[in-house]
Amino acid sequence: MLAKLTVSEALAKLQKKEVSSRELTEAALSRIADVEQEVKAFVTVTKEEALTAASILDDRRLKGETLGLLAGIPMALKDNMCTKGVRTTCSSKILHNFVPPYDATVAELLKSAGTVLLGKTNLDEFAMGSSTENSAYFTTRNPWDTRCVPGGSSGGSAAAVAADEAFFSLGSDTGGSIRQPAAFCGVVGMKPTYGRVSRYGLIAFASSLDQIGPFTKDVRDCALVLNAIAAHDSCDSTSANVEAPDYTSFLDGNVKGMKIGVPREYFAEGIEGEVKDAVRKALDVLVSLGAEAEEISLPHTDYGIPVYYLIAPAEASSNLARYDGVQYGFRAEADNLLDMYKKTRSQGFGAEVKRRIMLGTYALSSGYYDAYYLKALKVRTLIKKDFDRAFEKYDVILTPTAPTVAFQAGTVENPLTMYLNDICTIPANLAGLPALSIPCGFAGKLPIGLQLIGKHFDEGSILRVAYVYEQNSGIERRSPELGKGGVANE
């Protein structure tokens, strides 16, 4: 089945003219038609546009034109990245009719790399959540067991790749929103260093934490996609002006002498036994190939969640002030301006978004700023320093990605319990570090994820370790059973 190919496999076939972009696009669209009813990964599918774009690329290839790095590959974008002329909803009612007049920088870069946009994927509204259950439209399902969630917030992007509906996708990660769904769906997901990939045109949630990154079927694809999107951008003042290497050059299969730190706080109470076992087994594989592993301590790990759940809502409360019903999006009818603001925002935002706006507004409000927001920023310093110290001695840090495997939809009702999902992923956002999740086994039929965290701008080292692990893990590449009319998981 064409849709099952990795990006690198599909590129090789395109270059040898064994397959056309049109055929790959048709294969992806037909896969979407077959399984989307079960998976529900997409908010919008851009079928006609995709077929047209693919045919144009095929023509250019036949004419012998020079094409981009990923020319002909069909992909999907999380629906919080602006796409010119294609509705971008953030899975929120407040943006249900928003058609951006411009492309996000990543959308533009991927266009010039020659990719074909298949559609926009579902997320927790405004990327706030860990399950896609906060989407204003529907909950995406985990392709491995459709009773379960795909994780979140980039659950649609993760599920689309896991279900072979897209060859790769992009997500955004503020507290784990790429890595946790990658772990839940059994795909590779990377959050690059803060500033490595432009955020211009990414609908802002928490600006000091948000970062865009790829979901792919394997580590080589992750490096290929990162090559296409890692670039300085003058439209994003937080974009880092740091040269990006060729990330595939790190896939040399050698981890001899690499130093891996294994923080004991990530194997504490609350992390499921099967998850710990799978991650320790993965570590054994790396050690058997010459890596050196040592247990370390990142003593402020436990404070990551409270710090995050003060900083992220504070920044969100400010970023989301722009949704006032004036310039774009939903507007509620009212007699005066103040009521229009209030009704628009109350009817347009879902419960979790409102909860975080209120929490953030409170943490920033007069009399509480020092006690909550400033305190959180200070503890953020301590968390960052833990990593600075560890990286003086170690090349990468290895942990579980999420404390559990995917849980069943509708079973986590308490917001605070849901927040604990991010316990292993939040610290990398607070410290701005690159981190990747790679599948490291299964508990029953649900995938388990392993997280590798690297130094600032050293995506190369985590790709190197991930690639060696992937090549030697002994884990068979399987695909979820889907497309059988929904009976696969009954």
Binding site: N97, V99, P101, Y102, Y194, S208, S237, T238, A240, D302, Y303, P306, V307, Y309, L310, S317, A321, V326, Q327, Y328, G329, F330, R331, A334, D335, N336, L337, L338, D339, M340, Y341, K342, K343, R345, S346, F349, K354, R355, I357, M358, L359, T361, Y362, S365, Y372, L374, K375, A376, L377, K378, V379, R380, T381, L382, K384, N414, P415, L416, A431, G432
Partner: protein, 95 residues
């Protein structure tokens, strides 16, 4: 209690949100639970610790102040819920 019903109502007003009675009870409970959880930060002495608002050593980023192309007016207004004569139209502000 870290935050009472009146304070939640005040915060909702600041955030331009309308919250009805039932919602108010739920939000008050949930915000209290989250703030109580955040209390564990007070175990740490941060008296001499500087805050980190931004992880990279990037400060002000400047560019030349020169005119560049911008969106045509009709495109900028295309998403407006209501517009008139090239402007965003809103409910009456001044009586």
């Amino acid at each position: 209690m870290k935050i009472n019903r009146e304070e939640v109502a005040h915060v909702a007003r600041l955030a331009r949100l309308e919250v009805d009675g039932v919602e108010m009870d739920a939000y008050t409970d949930q915000l209290n639970a989250i703030l109580q959880y955040a209390d564990k930060l007070n175990r740490l002495d941060t008296e001499k610790i500087p805050p980190t608002a931004h992880v990279l050593p990037i400060n002000n980023v400047f560019r030349q102040d020169e005119a560049r192309p911008c969106l045509p007016r009709e495109e900028a207004l295309a998403n407006a819920p209501d517009d008139e004569e090239g402007m965003f139209r809103v409910p009456r502000v001044i009586e």
